[in-house]
Symmetry: C2
Subunit: 375 residues, 2 copies
Amino acid sequence: MPVLRQDPLTGEWVIIATERAKRPETFARPREVEKESLPSRVENCPFCPGNEHMTPPQVLSYQKENSLYGKASPGNGGQDKQMQASGSAATATEDWSLRVIPNKFPALEATKNQESEDSLDVLDALQRHCNRDFFRSYSGYGVHEVIIETPDHNRQLADQTEEEIVLLLRSFGERIRSLEEDPRLRYVQVFRNHRPEAGASIEHPHCQLIALPYIPPLLDKEYRLAHDYYLDVGQCLLCTLAQEEEHSGDRVVALNDHFIAYIPFAAPLPFSTWIVPRQHLSALEKSPPGMEEQLAPIVKDVIGRLDQRLADPPYNFYLHTAPLRSESLPYFHWHLEIIPKLTIVAGWEMATGTYINVSRPEEAASYLRDGPGLY
Amino acid sequence: MPVLRQDPLTGEWVIIATERAKRPETFARPREVEKESLPSRVENCPFCPGNEHMTPPQVLSYQKENSLYGKASPGNGGQDKQMQASGSAATATEDWSLRVIPNKFPALEATKNQESEDSLDVLDALQRHCNRDFFRSYSGYGVHEVIIETPDHNRQLADQTEEEIVLLLRSFGERIRSLEEDPRLRYVQVFRNHRPEAGASIEHPHCQLIALPYIPPLLDKEYRLAHDYYLDVGQCLLCTLAQEEEHSGDRVVALNDHFIAYIPFAAPLPFSTWIVPRQHLSALEKSPPGMEEQLAPIVKDVIGRLDQRLADPPYNFYLHTAPLRSESLPYFHWHLEIIPKLTIVAGWEMATGTYINVSRPEEAASYLRDGPGLY
C-alpha cells in the first residue's frame, strides 16, 4: 500500500510508492568508467594546473604546504596557507591545493550594467509586487563563483582525504563571509553537481556558489516554517527532528560526536541524505572553530558509502544556511543535503511540485549503513 | 547581462542567463531512431492490441468506428462510440481506438487497506498540522490510471491526427468528471511523459492521471495567487496575461479562434509552452461542447513544431485545471503546459527551487513560430 508522508521542515507531502518500490541494490548501476583509467591532468581542462590563464583571476586560493607561495603568505599561521588575490593583480601559480574563481559564464553578474533592460534598483524591484506590470526584466545582479577542489583532475570528492575536504568546507565559509560584505546580496547558495547526469559540464572536481539579491523560495519556506515552529514550541525544529532521528535510528546513515547523517522520513527522492550539526547552529559560516574537522569525516563517510554502494552515482549536494548578515537565529539550523540522481523527474513532479519516492527511506538508510562491507 | 524575471502566475523569479544562452537551433539533437523503423505492434507490449489481458480491466474505451463493438454500444449517438466497462466484467476487445486502464503499479491506490500504517482518515490527516507528530504515514488513497492513446505502438502524439487528439482530450474530461463523484478525491492531475529521458518507461503512446485526496502544492499556489489578483483587480489574471501575450506577440507560438499558445515571459525552462483558452474557462472538464475540436489543432500544431524544430525532444505535458467539484471559478483559468526536457535540473534548482533558463523566451518562440519551413 502506498503511503503519504509529510516533511515537517518543508510541509510537503511525499508519496512513498511501495507498489513500485525497488530494492536498494537495484539503484546501483555498473560503473561506466574505471577511475584508474582517467588522467590526473587534462591538457585543455581550464581547472587543471598550468591552465590558470584560461580562467578569470582567482578570488581565493589555498596554497600547498611548503610551497614558496604558502610560506610567503603573511599573517596566516594556520596549517593551510592562504592567498587572497584580487582582480587582475592575482598571480596565478601552480602551487595551489584549492582555488576559487569567478564563473566565466555567470548566471548572475557582479558588474551592474547601466544599460541593462531596466534601471530600477534590484532590491526595490524584487520587493515590489509585480502583478500589475507583467513583462519587466531586472538586471541580474549577483556573484557566481567556482571552487576548484583539487589540482587533480581525477580526484572526485569520494577520493579526497579528510584534510582536503576540510579545506573545501573552509572555503565555503570563507567565501560566504566575504560576500556578506556586499549589502546588495542576501543569500549565498553553495552547491556541487557530480557527473554530467547531475549537471556537471566540467569533469574536474569543483563546487559552485551563486550569491543572490533575494532569498530563494525553498529557503524562504524553510525559514518561515522553522520560525512558526519556534514561535509555537520555543525550540528549533531541526534540533528536535535530528534528536528524533537519532533516537529512532531507522534512517540514520552515520553519526559522530558533532554531526548526524540521515535519510529524512519524507525524503522526496531515493537515498536523499542530510548531514546536520547535533549542536544548534544557524549558519555554517559562523560555526565555531574546528567545525570543518568534525564535518569532513562524516561528509567523506556518506559520500564514500554512496560511491561504493550505488557505484559512483550522479548526485547534487548543497548547503542550506542562514541569510547573509543574520545574527545567530534560534529557529534555523544549517545543514547539507546530498541528493543522488537515480530517477527521472517527470510530468507528475513538474505538474504538481510533489514527489513519488520509489525507495523506502528506512530500507535505503539500512542499505547505506549496514549493507555488505564494501570498504 | 543576465536578467531576472518574475512569473505573475507563480510569483517565482527566473534567471534568464543570456551569458550562457544558446541559440535556439542548438537545442535540437540528432534523431536517435528513425520513426519509420519502429514496428506498429510489439509482441510483449502490454498496451498493444491483443495484449489486453496483460493489463487490469479497462475503465473506459473508445471503439473504432464501424467496429462491431462500436455499433453494439447503446445510447451513444456520437461519432466516437464509447464503452464503459466496469471491474472484471470488462470485455477486452481489439477494436478500440483508445483505452483507459488502472495503472498496474499505482503510485496511489483506490482500495483502502485497513491494515495500512495508519487508520486515520486521509482527509482528516491531511488537514491536521503534523509538526508535533513527526513520523506518521497515511494510507496513500488515490487513483492512478493510464490512457492508451492509440492501438499503434509507433504513433506518438506528433504523428496522430486531429481526430485522434480530439478523442484523447475528450478522455481527459470524461475521466475527471467520473472521478469527481468520489468525495474523497480533490484533484486530478493529467500528464504525459514523452521518451525515456522525460520519464516514459513504456514506449507505447500513453498519458497518465493521478487523482489525489489533496490539492498539490503548485496548484494550490496558482489558485491562491490568481484569487489574490481577482480580489484586487476584479479580473482573471490568466485572461489578462493571455491578452497581453497576444497583444505583444513576441512569445506567441500559435493562435486560433479559441486558443493561444505562447512561451511565458518568465519560462523556467527552454521552450516551455502554454496553451490557454482565449475565453475564460476554469476547468477543462467543464468546457462547452466542441472545445476539443478547437484545442486539438493547436495541440497538434505546437507538438508538431517541437517535434520538427527540436528533433522529437523528450517532453512532459500536463493539465492545470480547477479542483474537483468546484463551480465555475471567476479567477482560475485552465491551461496545458508542455515542457521539453532539453537541460538538466541540477544542484542550483534542487537547492533553491528556482531556475536558470539558458534560452530567451522571445528567441525560442520566434524559432518555433517563424523558423525555417519544416512542414
